[in-house]
């Protein structure tokens, strides 16, 4: 019995299986980790244009959010969005293909690493301008509120983004209109090469919720169950019509900010400390302790993910880059 054959699954199916099964969540975290590591390697090989922002170490946050929401909910997230896209169900081919600039990518290879999306699982095009997605996510919640359905939206952003105006305006608007939106700050301790405490005078970004009269919560971003529980609870609150919440997930990115950044600005030992609480290891141990999976199974999942990734990469590399004609299609929906 193989874990899954995700390449055969549609995004909706990938999402459903993740939501249904804890072991699938584990597998997805592994999938993300391996994909991100491979992306960095591919960047080193010159196969990825421009830049790319990976999320190793932060897998529990995105998978936890995907587990706590449904595909009709909307997610606005950032350029550091490969993991979120995979979590929500976007296929590996669509993600890796886009990062590599191939037609098989989710926008045909014309957008790139910073711009992943799939409306079928609620993923808005990921945002390359810091903070831009915060109010836009809240706008999806406005749609739900105006139409009177019970969808919610999740705006995901970094610690650094909490210092930009769009954060302030987005949270304030969501509060006064009681929009069904959850704001998740992935506090990975750094904005580019600068430690959060050099730009942000509060220890917990969650305290900023008080400025908007909404609840603020801190959650251990390395513990997927904690993320799912917290996000799930405040998503339910939003769905009930009780308004927005700010959730701060404390986490860490293992790699540098982008492309070839070696993150030499980090104090010695910091990475090691975080590696001790690796979200995949923690979750794996827990699943074993619970008796849900045994260690051999964990290894099988990893092996499966590795071979799935290889197959994905083959498929992606066989896909051509977009054509001149594709580039020249009008950028408007109406063609004018």
């Amino acid at each position: 019995m193989s874990v899954t054959a995700p390449q055969l699954q549609s995004p909706r199916e990938r999402r459903a299986s993740l939501q249904a099964s804890r072991s699938e969540r584990y597998a997805r975290m592994v999938e993300i980790r391996l994909m991100e590591e491979r992306v960095l390697a591919l960047f080193g090989e010159g196969l990825i244009p421009g830049t790319t922002h990976t999320s190793q170490g932060q897998e529990a946050v995105c998978v936890g959010i995907a587990a706590a929401t449904r595909p009709t909910d909307t997610v606005a997230c950032t350029y550091r969005g490969h993991g979120m896209a995979l979590s929500l169900g976007v296929t590996r081919e669509a993600v890796l293909g886009e990062i590599l600039g191939r037609q098989i990518g989710c926008m045909g290879g014309l957008g790139g690493s910073m711009h992943l999306s799939d409306p079928r699982v609620g993923l808005l095009p990921t945002f390359a301008i810091v903070g831009a997605g915060i109010p836009i996510g809240a706008g999806a919640a406005l749609t739900a509120q105006v139409l009177g359905n019970d969808d919610v939206a999740v705006s995901v952003f970094g610690d650094g983004a909490s210092n930009i105006g769009a954060f302030h305006e987005g949270l304030n608007l969501a509060s006064i209109w009681k929009l069904p939106v959850v704001f998740v700050c992935e506090n990975n301790q750094y904005g580019e090469y600068t430690r959060i405490d050099r730009t942000t005078p509060v220890a917990d970004i969650a305290v900023r919720a008080a400025s908007y009269g909404i609840p603020g919560e801190v959650v251990d971003g390395q513990d997927i169950d904690a993320v799912e529980e917290t996000v799930g609870r405040v998503v339910a609150r939003a769905r009930r019509g009780d308004g927005p919440t700010l959730v701060e997930a404390k986490t860490y990115r293992y790699a540098g900010h982008s492309r070839s950044d070696k993150a030499t600005y980090r104090p010695a030992g910091e990475l090691d400390q975080w590696l001790e609480r690796d979200p995949i290891t923690l979750f794996g141990e827990k699943l074993v302790a619970e008796g849900a999976l045994d260690r051999a199974r964990l290894e099988e999942i990893k092996a499966q993910a590795a071979s799935d990734l290889e197959r994905t990469l083959e498929v992606v590399l066989a896909s051509p880059p977009p054509t001149e004609q594709q580039m020249m299609a009008p950028p408007t929906a109406t063609g004018r």
């Binding site: 957008g111 706008g139 305006e169 408007t332």
Partner: protein, 334 residues
């Protein structure tokens, strides 16, 4: 037929579109209870209720962003930016997010967003509340920009914008809000975005105008000793290249009348297109009539000096016809 002020025509267009499609919502500062600083949303709150007609905090970046997200997920929001200058705190959401989102979604999402903003000089508001600033938006792939020249075109453009599946900015010259125009509202009044309108026909010169300067162009052409094709561009992005070129092919001369300062106004793009495509047709150099390259002055008297007037237009075109060269702008005579 209805004789409406421009602000009434806009409120009527919004009400009709809200009636027609309950995905249309309107939001902005003081647009609900106060019915808009310029009374362009009169009656909407009462008729459509607070779920669809919303007063916002002073957070242009925020509510523009919300509207982009709402548009991408199924609504058709109409956002009011009270004065175009306030786009300076929200441009990212419009020019970088809304404009590119259809493209960035692999062409799967649409962003049927309408942004309305008041523009222009003539009411004495001073240099930060008197510009037209369409130049901030020109050249942005994915964005359409229309400019009303009175009640009729405001009505037709607003309806077209709300129905369009792309982000459309409709600019409304403030001094026209209170001016009445007779026209027939209804489906036939909806304007196809991207098309200009030939308002007068003549043989000597093609005058291209936009917004407030349409009236200037018509007035200037009326009493003159020459005759002109007068075109209301109506949409400045994309603009009606065919209409302008065809007219210049006939008249052999082009004059743009612009409310903006001289450097890099929308007229430069029109002139540049005509220069490239109608070179052989041009019997005189193309002429741009604009405001000078200084900030809009306070006070309506100097403002009138600042803007190109109908008399100035008549004189300048007369000189162009007589000499076959571009007359210098008034401020170079100094």
């Amino acid at each position: 037929m209805a004789k409406l002020r421009m602000n009434q025509a806009i409120a009527l267009a919004l009400a009709e579109e809200m009636e027609r499609d309950d995905h249309v919502i309107v939001l902005g500062e003081d647009i609900a209870e106060a019915e808009g600083s310029f009374k362009t949303s009169e009656g909407l709150l009462k008729r459509f209720g607070p779920n669809r007609v919303r007063d916002t905090p002073i957070s242009e970046m925020g509510f523009m962003g919300l509207s982009v997200g709402a548009a991408a997920t199924g609504l058709r929001p109409v956002v009011e930016i009270m004065f175009i200058e306030f786009l300076g705190v929200a441009l990212d959401q419009l020019a970088t997010e809304a404009a590119l989102m259809h493209f960035l979604s692999g062409r799967k999402l649409t962003v049927p967003l309408t942004v309305r903003a008041s523009v222009g000089s003539g009411l004495g508001f001073g240099c930060q509340h008197s510009q037209t600033l369409e130049r901030w938006l020109l050249g942005a792939p994915g964005l359409k920009v229309a400019v009303a020249s009175g009640a009729r075109s405001a009505y037709g453009l607003t309806k077209a914008a709300v129905r369009d599946d792309d982000p459309v900015v409709v600019l409304e010259p403030r001094p026209l809000y209170g001016r009445r125009e007779d026209f027939e509202p209804g489906e036939d009044a909806v304007i196809s975005l991207g098309t200009g309108e030939l308002l007068a026909q003549g043989t000597d010169v093609t005058i291209v105008a936009l917004g407030q300067t349409v009236a200037t162009a018509l007035a200037g052409a009326e009493e003159a000793g020459w005759s002109a094709d007068v075109i209301d561009l109506r949409t400045v992005q994309p603009w009606d290249r065919e209409l302008v070129r065809a007219s210049v092919a006939k008249t052999g001369r082009l004059v743009t009348v612009e409310e903006n300062q001289f450097t890099a106004g929308w007229g430069s793009d029109v002139v540049s297109d005509v220069a490239a495509n109608c070179h052989g047709d041009l019997s005189a150099p193309p002429l741009r009539l604009t405001a000078p390259d200084v900030p809009v002055p306070y006070g309506t008297a100097l403002e009138q000096r600042y803007l190109p007037s109908a008399e100035y237009l008549a004189d300048q075109v007369g000189l162009l016809l007589k000499t076959g060269t571009c007359p210098r702008p008034w401020w170079e005579g100094q």
